[in-house]
């Protein structure tokens, strides 16, 4: 029992990071119907900004987190302006290739700046509590609570504010909404800023939990978050959260009960089967093409 609880806690920690990154994919998809494949690398940039903030600027946890989120948000907006906006009317494939290109650029740019893996210093005091054999660390609690807090905040923005309403309107219909006076470009910029800043926050937390960071760390994590978004129903914000926790849970469960080599293979097989029965994801709704 304690073993299961411990593994559940591990799953919650991993899942909340996947969920945070998945949100960025799903928000951009929701508003532009494009997949921002550079998102995993923006997550990596978030971790590196945290490293710079903590090591060179000697900032504590909260300022480092805010700096990373702001930096990544700015980068996200700039990328959208320069790389994606000119292609908004181009075929979808061009935009996806551009996103892949931006991602590879970010990886190699970071690699050129620091070829060695870096170590993020422990920004929060390391405390450990044990409840009947189940160990909980302060870091675990921080990651889980902070992720949930950010998700609640995002849910509030999207559902209760004017900007959120504009986002939902644009994702509903891109041709009519501008005629109603909604500043489409600005709303898209804000969406990118919020989505990528969550990726940056995930980068910081990932960097704290797994403190050795390198320029390629975003690739696999990015893929897994993208898959979480699809499983949850891409374009659906609550779906992305659920998808992240499901993927984290499956990965930990497989490693816990089967030889750990089976982890990715069983996890992805499970997701494939899930998609066969629910092709639009868990919370996704089919959008029939009107002819």
């Amino acid at each position: 029992m304690t073993y299961l609880l411990q593994q559940a806690l591990n799953a919650l920690q991993l899942g909340s990071i996947y969920a945070l990154i998945a949100l960025g994919y799903t928000m951009v998809y929701g508003i532009l119907t494009m997949i921002n494949f550079a998102h995993g690398d923006l997550f990596m940039v978030g971790a590196f900004l945290c490293f710079v903030a903590a090591t060179y600027l000697k900032l504590s946890f909260v300022p480092s987190l805010l700096l990373s989120m702001a930096g990544v948000a700015l980068l996200g907006v700039v990328i959208e302006k320069w790389a994606y906006k000119p292609l908004r009317q181009a075929p979808r494939v061009s935009a996806i290739i551009t996103a892949l290109g931006v991602g590879i650029f970010l990886e190699n740019f970071t690699l050129a700046l620091c070829p060695y893996p870096k170590h993020i210093p422990p920004l929060i005091a390391h405390e450990m509590w044990s409840f009947g054999g189940v160990s909980i660390s302060s870091l675990q609690i921080l990651i889980i609570l902070l992720s949930i807090l950010l998700m609640i905040l995002l849910d509030f923005i999207v559902r209760r504010t004017m900007v959120g309403m504009a986002m939902r309107a644009i994702s509903w219909d891109k041709t009519i909404v501008p005629l109603m006076g909604v500043p489409v470009d600005r709303v898209i910029s804000i969406t990118f800023a919020i989505g990528t800043s969550l990726g940056g926050a995930a980068g910081v937390m990932y960097g704290l939990a797994y403190p050795v960071i390198d320029p390629y760390m975003g690739i696999m994590v990015g893929w897994k978050a993208f898959i979480s978004a699809v499983v949850g129903g891409i374009g659906n914000i609550r779906g992305a959260m659920i998808g992240g926790f499901i993927l984290g849970g499956v990965e930990i469960l497989v490693a816990a009960f089967l030889p750990s080599t089976y982890r990715d293979f069983v996890a992805f097989a499970f997701l494939l089967v899930l998609l066969i029965f629910r092709p639009y994801g868990i919370l996704g709704k089919p959008h029939p093409q009107k002819v």
Partner: protein, 388 residues
């Protein structure tokens, strides 16, 4: 337009051929190095490159290598394998066919040394891997017979696994061990199995034998499993960039038993990435910088003067690989790939900075001793010797 383009390509080819042809009987001895300059273990590549440049500079400052009645300068060609198996093979191919090198040093990590060694073997060019400890590097994949053109400057993993297992049982007196290793990497997998074999044969018990794959960052599920098995010690035969993560996550899960490691720990980067989390742990490796013979001290001092850092085991082994190769070229007396290979195979023993190496007839694996180091105050400190 099309015509000029064709002309350009044709000229380029011609250029390659001219420069290519110049190599064979030229005025310099061309030696190739394949190193992990980028990718997942860049510190290994950097040490290898540093030591290679130092070894070549020393020989050139002395006028070069004496072949017959003339001295030839040594020219170095360094290729990056980017931490990839396929690029290791293509780097070997490039060095052999385009740069026309006489022999190759590197790659270091076994998972890159094996593909490169296949190319060297089939092209009949001698290759010395400084740091690859997996037996497979010098063995033919199909027949299991030793490769003719592949050598190394380090001991092999059956020996290292035995050293670590014996040390854990006899010196640390810990009888229940858990192992966590990268199943996708030749080196890690090999040594984990050799450790398990000797450990269980000598009265120890491996209570958990857990795996992960290269580039994983989250080990919480495996470590929780290990924690449940209640080991007294955890063996982590993994590369320096991953070990700190494993130790830190284990501590966060409430695991308080000691860890032990193998020669893949021996980079200064390891201590940097670990902080204070690796204090007091032991690992086996090739040489100890603080308990050195006069030859070794001279090497360490000139390396420190050049690069401002203590040479790690990769640097020392690369330097020894060059020493071996220079001796072979001298005794071959000519710039001929086959003659250099034959001379290498004839070297009975070599006193290098990492100790005495003894070669057996028909095998590219030296017999040499290992040392156990302890991590103390962020430094590697000599603890014990282990003889073959």
């Amino acid at each position: 337009m099309k015509k000029s383009c064709f002309l350009f390509v044709a000229l380029m080819f011609l250029g390659f051929m001219v420069t290519g042809c110049g190599g064979g009987g030229g005025n310099t001895i061309r030696i190739g190095v394949i190193a992990e300059l980028t990718g997942d273990v860049p510190a290994v590549g950097a040490s290898c490159k540093n030591a290679a440049e130092m070894a070549v500079k020393e020989i050139n400052d002395a006028g070069g290598l004496q072949l017959g009645d003339k001295k030839y300068k040594v020219e170095l060609f360094i290729e990056d394998n980017a931490g990839k198996a396929d690029q290791s093979a293509s780097a070997a191919q490039k060095l052999i066919t385009q740069q026309k090198v006489l022999a190759i040093i590197g790659p270091n990590a076994s998972r890159y040394a094996i593909p490169a060694s296949e190319i060297a073997e089939s092209s009949r060019v001698a290759l010395i891997s400084p740091w690859s400890t997996t037996p497979k590097t010098t063995l033919d994949a199909k027949s299991g017979a030793p490769k003719k053109y592949v050598f190394r400057a380090c001991f092999i993993d059956p020996f290292q696994g035995r050293v670590v297992a014996k040390f854990t049982l006899d010196n640390l007196n810990l009888k229940k061990a858990a192992v966590l290793y990268d199943v996708a990497s030749e080196y890690n997998k090999g040594i984990a199995e050799f450790f398990k074999e000797t450990y269980e044969k000598n009265g120890g018990k491996v209570v958990a034998f857990e795996t992960y794959t290269t580039n994983d960052k989250d080990f919480s599920a495996q470590l929780t499993k290990i924690k449940r098995a209640r080991p007294e010690v955890i063996f982590l035969p993994n590369y320096y960039s991953e070990v700190p993560l494993q130790i830190q996550q284990a501590k966060r899960l409430g695991i308080s038993v000691p860890f032990i490691g193998s020669d893949s720990w021996g980079s200064e980067e390891m201590v940097k990435l670990c902080g204070t989390d690796c204090e007091g742990y032991y690992f086996s490796t090739h040489y100890a910088a603080d308990a050195a013979t006069p030859v070794t001290i001279k090497f360490i001092d000139s390396y420190k003067a050049r690069y401002g850092a203590t040479p790690d085991d990769v640097a020392a082994l690369t330097y020894d690989s060059f020493g071996l190769l220079f001796q072979a070229i001298r005794s071959a007396g000519k710039m001929d790939r086959q003659a250099v290979r034959d001379a290498l195979a004839r070297i009975p023993k070599y006193e290098g900075v990492t100790g005495l190496m003894q070669f057996q007839e028909g095998s590219g694996d030296p017999i040499k001793s290992a040392v156990i180091l302890k991590i103390k105050d962020g430094k590697f400190v000599w603890f014990a010797n282990a003889n073959p």
